[in-house]
């Protein structure tokens, strides 16, 4: 469905030295610098899949989404969606996609929400019968009735997001791009929106590409994730695989007896783990130890700890997905140095 091959996007940027002097220099001799927002990104998404497209801030997620939707023209590489190259045949291409950019709205700001849908109906050439059916479906999934007659500027953030998603779905697109659809929303609204995305995906076999910083979005929605960092692919696979491959991290939490003056140093000294294999956080008598269980079995770690000090309480658990991702990001940082 979606093929992205070696996408690269460069931006030109005028750089200026700080201060007044720098401004004058930039006035007479502007220095241009090329910023590479996406280095080389490839992935593909089969029909009907929900893909989580993730990465730290500034990784190039939005740039890639904008290339896929035809807003930006890639400096190099190519994307093909549904057999079409977005930049070459924009008008026909965009009929088949819907896009929501969480940070901005495509609704008519001063007018009642309903009006936006009527305009979009014409723009996308949706016929009356289909429009009616469609609106009742979207109403049911996104619960728009309550505010469909209110001017868009009076909507709450959550309502606006639902309205925006409905606007992007009106013409039954085959592919839906959602750039941070849950940003800034409270838990209940987030859940509401997730349900809607799931329902749309299930009932219409809509392929969804979604960027997010919220790990629960990924855990609840995504069949597969593509992770990028600094404009390059870092990981591509299912959530399950991610856990298998990177999920050997375990978390040991214990509280020492007040009499025992265990320091981080002491604890670390007896172990032969280094770097990312061992991360210790300590707050007074509470220790939180994340370690690589392939290098050191859990049982060994437990007995080591118990032999070292008197503990009040102790527990071991699997690291959660957020933890794994944080580790992946961190690896990107260290390999960069």
């Amino acid at each position: 469905m979606i093929y992205a091959e070696h996408l690269r996007k460069e931006f030109k940027k005028t750089i200026k030295d700080p201060g007044l002097k720098g401004s004058f220099k930039a006035l007479f001799n502007p220095k241009k610098e090329i910023v590479v927002a996406a280095q080389d990104i490839s992935f593909h998404v089969p029909e009907g899949e929900i893909l989580g497209f993730i990465g730290p801030n500034g990784a190039g997620k939005s740039t890639v989404i904008k290339m896929l939707t035809g807003i930006l023209t890639p400096t190099r590489g190519e994307c093909r969606i549904n057999g079409k190259i977005p930049q070459n045949d924009r008008k026909n291409y965009v009929k088949e996609i819907g896009a929501v950019f969480g940070q901005r709205t495509q609704l008519w700001w001063d007018l009642p929400l309903q009006e936006t849908y009527l305009v979009l109906k014409e723009i996308y050439e949706v016929d009356d019968a289909k429009f009616k059916k469609r609106m009742s479906f979207l109403n049911e999934v996104l619960e728009l009735e309550k505010f469909i007659k209110s001017p868009v500027r009076t909507l709450s953030l959550g309502q606006r997001m639902r309205a925006d998603i409905a606007a992007s779905m009106l013409h039954s697109p085959k592919v839906l791009f959602l750039d941070e659809p849950t940003i800034g929303l409270d838990v209940v609204v987030k859940d509401n929106i997730r349900q809607a995305i799931m329902k749309i995906n299930k009932e219409e076999k809509t392929t969804v590409v979604l960027t997010t910083h919220d790990i629960s979005d990924i855990e609840l929605l995504c069949d597969r994730i593509v992770m990028i960092d600094k404009g390059r692919n870092v990981y591509d696979g299912s959530l399950h695989e991610l856990r298998e491959n990177f999920g050997q991290t375990r978390e040991l939490v214990f509280e020492t007896d007040t009499s025992a003056n265990l320091t981080e140093e002491q604890f670390r000294n007896g172990l032969k783990l280094t770097g990312n294999d061992l991360v210790i956080e300590r707050e007074k008598n509470n220790f939180k130890v994340r370690f690589n269980s392939t290098k050191m079995p859990v049982s060994e770690m437990l007995s080591y700890t118990l032999s070292l000090t008197k503990v009040k309480d102790i527990s071991v658990k699997d690291a959660d997905i957020e933890e794994i991702i944080r580790n992946l990001y961190r690896q990107g940082e260290t390999s960069d140095e």
Partner: protein, 272 residues
């Protein structure tokens, strides 16, 4: 005093910097003004040619050229965009951020703009004056440059800027009531352009109207310094005109303060 200047210098530097960053905009602004001057130049040339006497209501063509270019550049020098800025800040609510800073609000606006004014003085007004003097020399064959007039012009221009700033400050508060700032801006600029004589010298207007306009603050915003530079006023009249500028500056200061306090109250009612 030193301390006051110190806390406002950052605003001024920021003003200059943003002007330079948008250097193309600045250039466009200047060139736009010059184009207008050229259209007017040819128009007046046509008028003088049709008239055939070489004089038009006490202005020679050389006078006219100097008036045109100098009043336009003086207009740009004393132009204040504070009304747009306040309007925007009121609309997007960021005015509350400004109120939070431990500085005098009017002065923070003014210093941000002073940087711009200084830039314009150096790269626009002085070169234009130089050009005009060269032009005058080429036409008349004598050097007519007068340092005293230039200094008086600069003094009067500073007063003109202060008045313009206050007038614009008052205009900016209209944003509390009207959303179409663009329309208001056009209205304001054409009214000021007309009443301050930068479009047509006030000297050309019917006597009653001219007397009226000469006492209004708009003439103080551009016409006065230009006439002083051109040596159209005698010593007594110069003193009187400068005095009038000072009076207007004080009156408008009071008016803008009054509106400002009213506006702040409204801001509180709206909840910012």
């Amino acid at each position: 005093m030193n301390k006051i200047i110190k806390s406002y210098v950052p605003f001024m530097k920021a003003g200059i910097q943003s002007l330079i960053i948008y250097r193309m905009n600045f250039l466009g602004f200047v060139i736009g003004g010059l184009i207008y001057c050229f259209v007017m130049f040819y128009l007046w040339k046509g008028v003088f040619d049709s008239n055939g006497e070489g004089m038009f209501l006490g202005f020679s063509m050389t006078d006219m050229v100097i008036y045109l270019f100098l009043s336009n550049t003086t207009g740009q020098l004393t132009f204040s965009s504070v009304s747009n800025q306040i309007g925007e800040e009121i609309r997007d609510g960021s005015i509350s951020m400004r109120l939070l800073k431990p500085v005098n609000t009017d002065l923070s606006y003014m210093f941000a703009e002073l940087g711009e004014v200084l830039m314009k003085l150096v790269v626009l007004v002085l070169p234009i004056i130089l050009g005009l003097e060269i032009y005058r020399f080429c036409i008349t064959g004598t050097v007519m440059f007068n340092v005293v007039n230039l200094l008086l012009y600069l003094l009067s221009a500073v007063l003109a800027y202060i008045i313009s700033f206050r007038v614009n400050l008052c205009f900016g508060f209209i944003a509390f009531y009207v959303k179409n700032l663009w329309g208001i801006g056009i209205l304001k600029n054409s009214i000021i352009g007309f009443l301050s004589g930068s479009l047509i010298p006030l000297a050309f207007m019917p006597d009653g109207l001219r007397m009226c306009l000469e006492y209004m603050p708009f003439a103080s915003m551009g016409y006065t310094p230009v006439m002083i530079y051109m040596g159209k006023y005698g010593t007594n009249e110069i003193l009187f005109r400068l005095g009038l500028q000072v009076v207007w500056a004080i009156l408008l200061y009071g008016l803008s303060k009054l509106i400002w306090f009213g506006a702040i109250k409204k801001l509180c009612v709206q909840g910012g």
